[in-house]
């Protein structure tokens, strides 16, 4: 009897370990390969989702995700980023390795490639300036960060960027910058921050939370910043100088965004949409 119990416990332990390992592995896979990304388009009042190399939208009123047509020649590429100007509901930008940067001004009916002036199409992250519709920032792998002030027609290298690989880049209009704002760069190990004059990358506060997946900030109060990590959600009230773990329901999200109404949206590693109306304390499926 004792042997049977021991064998049973052994099997349970192994199964548990396997399940945990699988969970971590799939989360890492989802993030490292950039398969999942979420962005709230303020002008278009919609959520934009990247999943399995496709782009989807979901309006505030709608319950379903609708696919946005992508350029035909991007089958070889890997869609990593979507971003939209804050006051132009017609324009969308996408980017990714072998895709470069592309723009649509008719919600995906047509796309224009904007990589002619970039050194390569190996773009790993992209963001639009929070206040300037035509200012874009693109991260080129093993090269640096390029800025365009004319909606992608021309680009200029601004910085070599953090030495770590940048998976996400977000522009913020938080006060205190010498120029017009700040850029948050998310790497697997940390979130780093630079003024948008690129006068040095600074680490944000200590974040002992395993892999770092995504960052989002409050549009009405940009000093409030959220970061999604392997060990849950963390919040900062001072732009990332210090982080406090949100004592929530244990939900792990691999991508995160915030609506102007202060609703947090995230995708778990299965690509399921969750939202929180209480600053990340509790998460529910909006479709449920």
């Amino acid at each position: 009897m004792r042997i049977i119990i021991r064998c049973f416990l052994h099997v349970c332990l192994r199964a548990g370990l396997a399940a945990v390992s699988f969970g971590i592995a799939s989360t890492a896979l989802a993030t490292e390969e950039g398969l999942l990304s979420l962005h709230y388009d303020v002008a278009g009042k919609r959520l934009l989702k990247i999943e399995a190399n496709q782009l989807f939208q979901r309006t505030d009123e709608g319950m379903a995700w609708n696919a946005i047509t992508l350029p035909e020649d991007m089958a070889e590429g890997q869609l990593r980023a979507v971003s939209a100007p804050s006051t132009d509901p017609q324009t969308l930008y996408i980017a990714g390795p072998s895709i470069g940067v592309q723009r649509s001004t008719d919600n995906g009916e047509t796309w224009q490639e904007l990589s002619a002036n970039l050194p390569s199409r190996e773009v790993t992250a992209l963001t639009v300036h929070r206040r300037q519709n035509e200012t874009l920032y693109a991260v080129i792998a093993e090269d640096g960060i390029y800025q365009s002030g004319d909606a992608g027609t021309t680009w200029k290298k601004m910085d070599s960027g953090p030495s770590q690989k940048v998976n996400r880049l977000i522009h913020s209009n938080m006060d205190g910058s010498m120029q017009t704002g700040w850029l948050y760069a998310v790497s697997g190990d940390a979130v780093r921050l630079s003024m948008d004059c690129f006068c040095g990358w600074r680490p944000t506060g200590e974040l002992d939370a395993g892999s770092v997946y995504d960052v989002a900030y409050d549009l009405d109060g940009p000093k409030r910043v959220y970061v999604a990590t392997q060990q849950g959600l963390w919040r900062s009230e001072n732009g990332g100088q210090e982080w406090q773990q949100i004592d929530g329901d244990g939900t792990v999200l691999v991508t995160l965004t915030l609506s102007p109404q202060g609703i947090l949206y995230g995708l778990n590693h299965k690509g399921e949409l969750l939202h929180s109306e209480d600053e990340g304390q509790s998460w529910t499926y909006p479709d449920a």
Partner: protein, 167 residues
């Protein structure tokens, strides 16, 4: 048959000399324009250097080398004075921004103190002295950095005198 130079015309050999001299002047002029970041001449750069040595060098270093560990907060929780040479980031700022920082001062928003670690010099230096010192800083950069900074300054130039007076 030997050609005789007509009176009043420059002989062919002399003409080539003047053409060569003219080309040489163009090349030298371009080289000087490349070497100096602005059209301001050497006396003004010398003035800028003097201002730099009197007011800036005690923190930023006589050669613009900055303070040690300038990228990390010190014991007071302040970012130390950065270098102004190629290893720093001064060259990333436009003329307008550099003028403003010298005139109005600066503190890093993440500093733990409230004081301006970069003091405001608008009550101490004349506008022309601020421009001179900024132009002097440009001599510490690489050519590529000067080009970058000049690009950034196209739409963000030094304030014109009337703007400064109005303020």
């Amino acid at each position: 048959m030997k050609m005789k130079a007509s009176p009043g015309l420059i002989p062919m050999r002399k003409r080539w000399f003047f053409v060569a001299l003219w080309l040489a002047l163009i090349v030298v002029g371009h080289a000087m324009a490349e070497d100096h970041s602005s059209s301001r001449d050497t006396p003004q750069l010398e003035d800028g250097k003097k201002v730099y040595r009197q007011y800036c060098a005690s923190c930023h270093g006589i050669q613009g080398e900055g303070m040690p560990n300038w990228e990390e907060q010190n014991a007071l929780g302040e970012l130390p004075a950065p270098p102004h040479g190629p290893e720093g980031h001064t060259w990333k700022h436009s003329d307008a921004m550099l003028y403003r920082i010298v005139a109005e001062g600066w503190r890093d928003p993440w500093n733990k103190t409230d004081r301006l670690t970069m003091p405001a010099y608008q009550e101490i230096l004349a506008p022309s002295e601020i421009r001179d010192v900024v132009d002097y800083l440009k001599t510490l950069w690489t050519q590529e950095q000067r080009h970058h900074q000049a690009d950034e300054s196209v739409d963000n130039t030094f304030p014109i005198q009337s703007e400064i007076t109005l303020e």
